[in-house]
Structures are given as C-alpha cells and as structure tokens.
Symmetry: C2
Subunit: 152 residues, 2 copies
Amino acid sequence: MTERSVTHATFTIERSYDSPPAKVFKAFADPAIKRRWFVEGEGWEVEEFTADFKVGGQERSRFRFRGGTPICNDTAYHDIVPNERIIFAYTMTIGENRISASLATVEFKPEGRGTMLLFTEQGAFLDGLDQVEGRKGGWGELLDALGRSLQS
Amino acid sequence: MTERSVTHATFTIERSYDSPPAKVFKAFADPAIKRRWFVEGEGWEVEEFTADFKVGGQERSRFRFRGGTPICNDTAYHDIVPNERIIFAYTMTIGENRISASLATVEFKPEGRGTMLLFTEQGAFLDGLDQVEGRKGGWGELLDALGRSLQS
C-alpha cells in the first residue's frame, strides 16, 4: 500500500531568447512546433502527442526513454493571452503512479527585439515519487531545447 | 487594454471535523452534497452546477450574488485518492475576466474519530483583479459551511 504524502513547492526559471514574443508563444501554441522541442529527442520514443491549445483544451503526451516505463503528461489549458501568457495544469504519471500535479505559468515579455520568458511552476509532488529539484532541471532542459528550436 | 500581471501565492487552511474521513471526502465527491455547502447560500443564485468527480473530470459552477455579475468556477480533477486526497485545478471568472487559476490540494487525515482537513492552494492571481487574502477568506467560509453541512 502506498504511503501518501504531498510536498508543495514553487520554482521559477528565466530564459532570454533572440526571437520576439509572438514567435516564442507560437512554439507553445503550434502542436507541430511544440512536439519537436517538448517530447522529441535522442533516446525518447514518442507513443502519443495530441494537443488542443485553447482554454479548456487538453494535451497528452506519452513517451518512453530507451524502452523504459511509459511516462505520461496530461495537460489542461486554463488561461491563454496570445503572445503574453499561458497557464496550464498538468500531471506526470510513470507507469501506474501519478507522481505530481502542477500549475505552470509561462509569461512572455519583450526584451529588446527578443523575449524574456518567465516560467513559474507551483507543484504538488506526490507520495515521495518525485522532487522539485529534478522537475526544475527537466524544465531547464526543455527551455534550452526550445531555444535551439527557435534558432533552427 | 488590460494591463497583464500574475501574482503567485500559496496558502493553507486547516479544519477539524467530528466526522470520519470517508464522510468528509464524500462531501466533495457527491455532487448533491457538494452543491449544498459549495454554491448554495442566502443571496446566492445558482445558475449552473455540474460535476463529474473523477480524474480528468470537470466541474462547473456559475452563480450570482443578489443579481450581480455572473461568477464562474471551472474545475478539473487531477488526482483522487479515495478518503485521503483530492487535487484539482480551477479558474475563477467574473463576467468576462478570468481573475485566477489555482491548484488546490485537499488532504483528509484521521484525527481521533474525526478528520483533520488540510487545504493548500497554489494560486496565480491575474491582472490585479484578485488577491490571495480574499481567496483564503472565501475558502475559510466554504470550509466552515462544509462543517455545518456535516452536522446537519
């Protein structure tokens, strides 16, 4: 029987990109672009990626790393201000175990001709199965992958 | 044009109830019971209350206070452990303006023959239209109404 626990934690990440806010926003809004930086990568097998980018819309990705246990991300969009802000809630599940539920806010601010992106995650990490440090590291890598995607 | 801003804040509320965890949990899980303490009350006109209490399910309530501007609560359930834990995300909208998006965790812990309920909200308060103090006060009143509902 699982010992239940919840650890609440908040973290923020900032990234500066040379691209304007409309282009960075589009990398979240356009499913084909998002798929490239968000779920594809060497060693990752994407089993599912469906996205409905609108308030009330859902997004689901399911993937494995080198044949390992399936990992699911279930996202629901709660607030969208074009080119300025996206707020979504998402859970992460590994195999049968839900390891977290989080609220994420992405803010896009003009910075010269580019964009300062501010990512804020307010997370509930569940049953000792996940930790905030790893989550922050994971999002840091994703936002770096987004940066490479914007340059390609 | 709306000046956009996001204020992130977390608060917790504790309440002790004489009823066992299964009964307190049911007051969230059963739509007929939840409606009584969550949206009904003197002066409040309930225009809509629909609830689908399951992971991935949605709940929507729409109400007015004494004929005022319609207020909407849109909730999505992200994690449910029967009699132990509920995690949901919700937005509040007044008229056309979304004023907040939040992640809420409700934990039900046995306390003698009763229950200690721990409510944690991790909120994003939007565009200067809402503040954490008022939200905490609102949930405090709701959890008091829940307590009265358990005794009736």
